[in-house]
């Protein structure tokens, strides 16, 4: 008995030890990032330095699958070597970035920040750790679409990040299912069905349901519909001061009521977007739904998840109302050893020319105005969609220019998660009533953010 107790404890200690080692190793390696090359921040042109850029998911910069921007920059600056530290999960990335910022260690020279977290990053305790781009030569807020840099601006006017991409949202729909349900299939006619009002989108859903092919829901998830509707609203979770007002926000109410209605009418496929069990992504291939709200970054997901067999069955139409869902920023921590070089590199990456290159290779819509207006973006088509290639450049840039900025707050992400995962998904999966689900949401928001 003793022995077994000890065995277990040894195992525990061994595991703990391994974990500690792992932490130490990563800790060390992250610390040494800055020390690896070069002695100080002095940036004489001949000195060899390594710039680390930390990001998540896929930014489309890398040399393997991206626009090869790293090697291009290395060619332009022979003394600079670039290393990308990529974490696939955006939330994990942000959680550890917050810790690193708190400790001022393990930080990369450039850190990407997703739009869902930027409002948290501009709060004084985190914003003070980043370079203020207002003080940087060659930086001009007006280079970006109006709402982009506003989101990275602190209450005292500092700008902590330069905008990479934006997520203007369109609607992807299955032409074959629309045809079977007696709806038009041409993008212009489809867009006309719901033009101007998301409630028309739900009405189209009802029409679709009346004659839908069996086993096909109108849209993939209530959460996706909610996000798409909300992203087009000028009042979202927070007011201008960043205070949570989701409970009285007309935008949230509109999005909630429409999503709840869609659930009640049975228009959703009851899936959870990006669930780790891949049920959602598998449902693309098996054709379980006819529409999905398509931010620009989603079209790659639609194509990859649906597979080559479904090529040509999807098309893209203008959304009922223009909204932005997603996008990121590049920020430069002040504590880095090569702040000047990192800042210059971040500016280069987000300049119009580079954002166009990323778009061409990867489809990320530029947030830089000149990039957005570039013919290469405007005239871009996507072969996977439509009969003769969908004009995605035109669709997304039209939407991007029509977007009205909405105030954002540091707790938006938490509330969004609760509403989509604990409110709407609970209604879809467990048949909870809309009123009960909303009071659950309120109780959980109160528990988590105390408001």
């Amino acid at each position: 008995m003793r022995t077994s107790g000890r065995t277990r404890r040894t195992a525990v200690i061994a595991v703990a030890g391994l974990a500690t080692c792992a932490t130490l190793i990563t800790g060390c390696s992250s610390d040494s990032k800055d020390d690896a090359k070069g002695d100080s921040g002095k940036s004489s042109s001949g000195e060899q330095i390594t710039l680390h850029i930390g990001d998540f998911g896929s930014f489309g910069y890398d040399d393997k699958t991206g626009a090869k921007l790293f090697s291009e920059y290395e060619r332009l600056h022979p003394n600079i070597k670039i290393v990308e530290d990529n974490v696939s999960d955006g939330q994990q990335y942000w959680d550890s970035l917050k810790l690193h910022l708190q400790q001022n260690s393990g930080l990369d020279d450039i850190q990407a920040i997703e739009i869902g977290y930027i409002a948290e990053a501009i709060q004084p305790n985190l914003a003070s750790k980043f370079v203020d781009f207002k003080t940087v030569k060659g930086f001009n807020v007006d280079d970006w679409v109006s709402y982009k840099e506003k989101e990275a601006t602190t209450s005292d006017g500092k700008v902590i990040g330069v905008g990479t991409d934006i997520g203007p949202t369109a609607i992807c729909y299955r032409t074959d299912f629309f045809k079977q349900a007696g709806l038009p299939t041409d993008p212009a006619q489809v867009a006309a069905l719901w033009n101007g009002d998301w409630s028309k989108f739900v009405s189209v859903g009802e029409q679709f349901k009346a004659k839908a092919p069996s086993g096909v829901a109108f849209t993939d998830s209530a959460g996706g519909l909610f996000n798409a509707v909300l992203s087009s609203q000028s009042a979202q979770y927070s007011d201008e001061s960043g205070k949570l007002v989701y409970d009285s926000s007309p935008g949230v109410q509109t999005a909630w009521n429409l999503s709840a209605k869609a659930i009640k009418e049975g228009l959703t496929a009851k899936l959870q977007q990006f669930d780790s069990n891949n049920t959602w992504s598998a449902a693309f291939k098996t054709g379980k739904f006819a529409t999905v709200a398509c931010p620009s970054w989603m079209i790659g997901q639609v194509a990859a998840n649906s597979g080559p067999a479904n090529k040509g069955k999807w098309d893209i139409a203008q959304p009922p109302q223009a909204g932005n869902w997603g996008g990121s920023f590049l920020a430069v921590p002040k504590s880095g050893k090569h702040v000047a070089e990192a800042t210059a590199f971040a500016q280069w990456l987000t300049a119009a020319a580079q954002e166009v290159k990323v778009f061409q290779k990867f489809g990320n819509i530029p947030s830089n105005k000149a990039g957005l207006a570039d013919p290469a973006v405007q005239n871009a088509t996507n072969d996977y969609f439509g009969t003769a290639g969908a004009p995605i450049g035109k669709i997304f840039s039209t939407t991007a220019n029509a977007i009205q900025p909405a105030p954002i707050g540091p707790k938006d992400g938490t509330v969004k998660d609760i509403i989509t995962k604990n409110g709407l998904l609970d209604m879809e999966q467990r048949g909870t009533s809309a009123d009960k689900a909303w009071s659950n949401v309120k109780a959980q928001v109160k528990d988590k953010v105390g408001e």
Binding site: M1, T20, N125, Q272, S276, K421, L425, D426, R430, V449
Partner: protein, 312 residues
């Protein structure tokens, strides 16, 4: 004698110092490691639990006394997590230990390929939680999982293993049971092999059946081991974390859309890392510790009473 050798008194003092002090030096590493990785986090967590501290916040937070604890008392999600921890603990621990006992009893016989079976029962224990949980997630998938397909053949249809409360809790306890049964079985087996063979011979001479022998010889003889496994499993059940987190996928941290299977550990994780309220998360951690101490004390009392009854 007038050499440079040190005086005898000095030498013996050194010798005494060696015998007195060196044992402490030998055990010092354990205590240092324990202080760094056991005691310090414990105390620091306690200190945090009395403050309002947010993740990413600089400085040390503001003193709030026992506010974090009193707010837990009024918090429906805390009580839900406590209830879930209890129900998950019961439905994963009780069948697990009973099965382990049975398995150990079988392995105690002279079987063919006994060594193989003994290693085989330990294999689940060597699997990582993440890998095991992912496999079970696929098995229990309500739409295309093997379990629902099988149940469909025997007339039970469409059990929502992902969202209904009890099916989800049963699925999670299945992961726990699968992983730990073999481990406990080996512990029982070791204890069973220490039971003197003449006890069984005497029982057999008295005409006791195999089952009677198991109940009246084996069980009483390995009673301390059973208590040990109960204590260890209780601790494990109270800290249940990885299985429900991975089982839940996107809604893992809240233990399902309606907190159907959110355990105390998950609630603590959600508070600390998703929301960033380190003070409140620390309070949950301390409450968990207190609960474990209470359970431990209760088990100790039962064990004492039991020993007294046996006249030990």
């Amino acid at each position: 004698m007038a050499t440079s050798a040190p005086p005898a008194g000095w030498r013996s003092r050194l010798y005494r110092l060696d015998t007195k002090a060196s044992p402490y030096a030998y055990i010092a590493p354990f205590f240092l490691v324990f202080a760094a990785f056991g005691l310090f986090p414990l105390i620091y967590t306690g200190w945090l639990s009395l403050h309002h501290v947010e993740l990413g916040q600089s400085g040390s937070g503001t003193w709030v006394g026992f506010d974090n604890y009193t707010s837990l008392w009024d918090n429906q999600f805390f009580w839900k997590a406590l209830r879930n921890t209890f129900t998950l603990g019961v439905i994963s621990t009780v069948p697990q230990l009973l099965m382990a006992l049975g398995l150990a009893h079988l392995l105690n016989y002279k079987l063919r390929a006994r060594g193989f079976f003994r290693v085989a029962v330990l294999a689940p224990y060597a699997t990582s939680i993440a890998a095991a949980a992912l496999v079970f997630v696929q098995l229990f998938n309500p739409d295309y999982g093997m379990i629902n397909q099988f149940l469909g053949h025997v007339g039970v249809h469409d059990i929502r293993w992902d969202s209904s409360k009890w099916p989800a809790q049963i699925a999670i306890s299945a992961i726990v049971t699968w992983r730990w049964t073999g481990y406990n079985a080996l512990i029982y087996l070791a204890a069973m092999q220490a039971v003197p063979a003449d006890l069984y011979e005497a029982a057999a001479l008295d005409g006791a059946s195999r089952w009677r022998q198991f109940l009246s010889v084996t069980i009483p003889s390995i009673r301390p081991t059973i208590f040990f496994t109960i204590i260890v499993s209780t601790i494990g059940a109270t800290q249940l974390f990885g299985e429900p987190l991975i089982y839940g996928g996107g809604v893992g941290p809240t233990g399902g859309t309606d907190h159907q299977y959110q355990t105390l550990s998950l609630y603590m994780y959600d508070k600390g890392w998703q929301v960033g309220q380190l003070g409140q998360a620390s309070a949950v951690a301390w409450v968990m510790l207190l609960i474990l101490l209470l359970i431990g004390a209760a088990q100790l009392l039962v064990m004492r009473a039991n020993r007294r009854k046996l006249g030990g």
